[in-house]
């Protein structure tokens, strides 16, 4: 009985463990983007995807700063829009989007596939229900 409780409590407490936040840009040849995202104080990690038309950035905001999540997202979006005026910029703080970007980076999608997967993620982010 006691062992059972220890296992349950361990399971519940360790459920919060996760990796340290990462900073990844894919495709990795864009140093300018990395520079802009690295100098942001309000985020601790980011993962970004870029194709010919779209720039998708998933950011990680520290827990206590999540109250001003929308503002942080908007500020970074504005900054990136100035740098990439020809691209549609999406900045979002969402675990699902982050995990989906991770999957794409792992599979190392090329240009056509990349566009398709970015479209899929965009559809996900617009989901309301």
């Amino acid at each position: 009985m006691k062992n059972k409780w220890i296992v349950i409590l361990l399971f519940l407490t360790l459920g919060a463990c996760s990796d340290a936040p990462e900073r990844v840009v894919y495709p990795s040849d864009d140093l300018e983007l990395e520079k802009i995202l690295d100098k942001q104080d309000s985020i601790i990690g980011y993962k970004s995807l870029m194709d010919n038309n779209t720039l998708l950035v998933s950011i990680e905001i520290p827990t206590m700063k999540r109250f001003s999540k929308v503002k942080i997202e908007e500020n970074i979006k504005k900054e990136l829009e100035n740098e990439y005026p020809n691209k549609k910029v999406i900045v979002i703080d969402d675990l699902k989007i982050k995990w989906e970007i991770e999957k794409i980076i792992e599979k190392e999608h090329e240009s056509k596939e990349l566009t398709k997967s970015i479209e899929k993620i965009l559809a996900l982010s617009k989901e309301e229900t």
Partner: protein
């Protein structure tokens, strides 16, 4: 002996409520329920196409469903005896109140008993929720129309 003296005597005779222990128990059990909820949120985000914003809805439904099953099998009673408000305040308390009222009135028949009394406790919560959601939406719609805030 007047009312006040009587109340004083009763208060002296009554065993003291262990406030701190009760709060600690409620905190722990409520916290465990919320942690389970968080794990369910992660499950839905990982394996289904829910985002952080939308995963809360199926999670609430799942927690209510689990609480309903636990109430039916008689386990939730034990949890709430131990934890008090810790098990009643999270959304699982809602499932418990619906099913426990239904079980209580089962002997009076399915329509007049179960159907008529199922929402005795939870009904007010539903009415309050729907009504307040309506008014909040109304206020927000007016504010958006005026141009004070945006959606």
């Amino acid at each position: 002996m007047d009312q006040k003296q009587f109340e004083d005597i009763v208060e002296k005779q009554n065993p003291k409520t262990p406030m701190f222990t009760n709060m600690l128990k409620a905190f722990l059990v409520g916290g465990i329920i919320c942690t389970i909820g968080q794990l369910i949120i992660f499950f839905y985000i990982r394996f289904f196409s829910f985002t952080e914003r939308t995963a809360a809805n199926p999670t609430a439904a799942t927690l209510v469903f689990i609480a309903m099953l636990l109430t039916g099998f008689g386990y939730y009673k034990k949890i709430s005896q131990f934890a008090g408000a810790g098990s009643a305040v999270p959304i699982t308390g809602f499932g418990n109140s619906v099913v426990s009222a239904a079980i209580e009135h089962k002997t009076e028949g399915y329509v007049l008993g179960v159907g008529g009394n199922m929402f005795k406790l939870a009904g007010s919560v539903i009415v309050f929720g729907v009504l307040s959601a309506f008014f909040v939406a109304l206020i927000k719609t007016i504010l958006v129309k005026i141009g004070v805030v945006s959606w």
